[in-house]
């Protein structure tokens, strides 16, 4: 029991339960299982993105370009769908993952082969990818009437009473869990985050591992590109503008240390859920949605303060690269 309480995920779960209870006082229907399932479904995309970002953050890097990658990939698949409505959707999802992977790999290559800090690389590609979205679309939108019913409908299909979108999120969560806890690559993500220099001596190629992390975050962003567009049924240059910081916020609330090496799948999922609950609950309990930003800002600060107590380590500097390259 004592060891259980040491896990920050338990505390986060308790905080979420308290939040749900608090909302239920104002709006009793909120805690109904059906409604909670809806909240889960609404948060699916953020959860998937947060998992991808987490892998990158574990390796002491950061990917600011995820939202732009999402917008670009979303535009690509929307345009393919508008031009060839018969193109099978599962294949289109593979295209989305592939395109996202390529963009992520580009980030990863710049970090790996040139040794440019990830924050600089992804800051650059953040603007490049979004600009490229404008270039391929010419600034035009792909509207709902241009998308095929299958494109829009797939994620809304019910499977055992749960929408496909939620199933995709569940599958991704399981895959990440296996990747991070049951594979050697997953171990090496943690290893280079905790101590890059020691990892080198342990035979881990730090640069290559970071490259892999960026490929994963890119592929995930690509998948979410399709999911986002088919969910909100519009593809434009402005899609998910500024969302990269929401993704990082979900990770931070989930207890993933920006200094690398600390974080779990449960944390990322719960962090995303926390933000999702706030954004769904505010209108329900008659609080102006304009409060949302300030509340999530306060939640981030609170999470950072609480997390810092658990990971006090002296002389550790973020952003500094210490590995023997």
């Amino acid at each position: 029991m004592k060891t259980l309480l040491k896990h920050r995920e338990i505390w986060l779960l308790a905080a979420i339960a308290a939040l749900v209870a608090l909302i239920s006082v104002r709006f009793p229907g909120f805690a109904r299982p059906g409604n909670l399932a809806t909240v889960f479904n609404d948060t699916s995309i953020l959860m998937i993105l947060a998992l991808g970002q987490m892998v990158v953050i574990l390796t002491r890097s950061i990917d600011l370009s995820m939202a732009s990658n999402l917008a670009f990939t979303g535009m690509v698949v929307a345009m393919i769908n508008a031009a060839f409505p018969a193109f099978p959707i599962p294949l289109l999802m593979l295209v989305a993952i592939g395109v996202g992977l390529l963009l992520g790999a580009l980030n990863g290559l710049l970090v790996w082969k040139l040794g440019i800090p990830s924050i600089v690389v992804s800051l650059g590609t953040l603007t490049i990818y979004r600009g490229a979205t404008f270039l391929i679309s010419g600034g035009a939108w792909v509207n709902a009437d241009q998308m095929s019913p299958a494109f829009v409908g797939l994620q809304r299909l019910q499977l055992l009473g749960v929408p496909v979108l939620s199933w995709i999120a569940i599958v991704v969560i399981v895959l990440f869990f296996i990747l991070l806890t049951r594979t050697s690559v997953g171990r090496s993500f943690y290893a280079i985050g905790v101590n890059p220099t020691a990892s080198v001596y342990a035979g881990i190629d730090v640069g290559r591992t970071k490259f892999l992390a960026f490929c994963i975050s890119g592929a995930v962003a690509g998948l979410c590109g399709y999911l986002w567009i088919s969910r909100y049924v519009i593809a434009s240059v402005e899609v998910a503008n500024g969302y990269e910081l929401n993704i990082i916020a979900a990770c931070v609330i989930g207890g993933i240390s920006i200094a690398g090496g600390i974080g779990s799948v449960a944390g990322a999922v719960l962090g995303a859920l926390f933000l999702g609950i706030i954004s769904t609950a505010l209108p329900v309990i008659n609080v102006s949605p304009f409060w949302q930003m300030a509340i999530s800002g306060s939640a981030i600060l609170l999470a950072v303060v609480l997390n810092a107590r658990g990971e006090r380590k002296q002389g550790r500097i973020i952003l500094r690269k210490a590995e023997a390259a």
Partner: protein
């Protein structure tokens, strides 16, 4: 021979090493100057409207506000920290100025409020980072949401208008001929920041902290206090920028200056400041600000949409950093 000749004259230890001309030519700043000149020449060929004194004067509005913040941000990044909340500080300061203007506060009061709010926000960031020992990148992602969130709570989807007429001077006025107040202020601030960073012991300490905070601490540098001051400075400059932008636009929405934080950081990194801390120069940052202004304005004259310009900025950021690395690697391989 007199006795005085035998006493050795004390060896003078130079304050800084003389740089050979060769290293000056291949320095980062020289590269930036070359890029700036190239863009300038391309621009003047590309558009007949570019080479006009008033065009060039308008051009400066593209970078002065962000450049002012970039000066302080450069110091902060050199010390190994970062502030992502600068644009949110602008939003909050502008909103509170708008509120004050509604109840009839006059121009000097508005300016004081803008700068004061900026300073307070910066101090809040600084307290969280240095007082509680939290990583600045996460703290300022949090305060970014918090500050802009407060602006949204106050304003919602409304906008403040109706600033006093005399308030317009800061963003729209000219000091002398084509030199706008904003440009003059930027020039003045650049000189002050250059002096502080490169000619005072305070500046030397900032570099020391960025290179090795632990060693700096043991050398008697008050690391926490200096970082706190730098956060306050960044907040202060954001407050000043808020006054300028609000005055230039004449209205306030909570979404004002959205995305500026990444542009400011791009400017600083493009200026040769190491994102890892410990290296950089004010001259580089000023040149980078100029380059970003030139690119934005030049492409604007050619009717290139803003979003495409951002591709150029992004490419510029990565290429300017990647090229010296490739150059270095290529050169080394040839020697080996």
């Amino acid at each position: 021979m007199s006795a005085t000749d035998t006493t050795p004259t004390p060896r003078r230890i130079p304050d800084r090493l003389d740089k050979p001309l060769r290293s000056a030519i291949f320095s980062w700043e020289a590269l930036l100057v070359a890029v700036a000149v190239a863009i300038f020449i391309v621009n003047s060929f590309a558009s007949p409207y570019f080479l006009d004194v008033w065009s060039l004067s308008d051009l400066t509005f593209n970078f002065t506000e962000k450049g002012l913040i970039a000066l302080a941000m450069a110091l902060l990044i050199i010390s190994g920290e970062i502030d992502l909340s600068v644009a949110a500080i602008i939003a909050l300061a502008s909103t509170l100025m708008g509120m004050a203007a509604q109840v009839g506060v006059d121009t000097p009061g508005l300016v004081l409020i803008g700068i004061g709010v900026g300073l307070a926000c910066g101090a809040f960031n600084g307290l969280l980072v240095t007082g509680l020992g939290l990583p600045s990148i996460v703290v300022t992602i949090g305060t970014m949401s918090l500050f802009r969130g407060i602006a949204f709570i106050i304003l919602g989807d409304q906008a403040y208008k109706g600033y006093p007429a005399s308030f317009a001077f800061f963003g729209q006025g000219y000091v002398w001929w084509v030199v706008s107040f904003e440009l003059a202020l930027f020039g003045f601030a650049a000189v002050v920041y250059w002096f502080v960073l490169h000619r005072t012991s305070f500046g030397r300490r900032i570099f020391a902290i960025g290179n090795n905070p632990v060693a700096a601490q043991f050398s008697g540098v008050r690391v926490g206090r200096i970082k706190f001051i730098l956060f306050c400075l960044t907040g202060l400059m954001s407050g000043i920028a808020a006054v300028l932008i609000t005055s230039r636009l004449g209205s306030t929405r909570p979404s004002i200056a959205q995305g500026y934080e990444l542009e400011v950081i791009t400017m600083v990194v493009l200026g040769g400041v190491s994102i890892l801390g410990g290296a950089g120069s004010i001259l580089g940052v000023v040149l980078a600000a100029l380059i970003m202004g030139l690119v934005t304005f030049g492409l604007g004259l050619l009717n290139v949409p803003g979003i495409v310009m951002s591709i150029f900025i992004g490419l510029l950021l990565i290429m300017v950093i990647a090229l010296p690395i490739l150059w270095d690697r290529f050169g080394r391989r040839r020697l080996a």
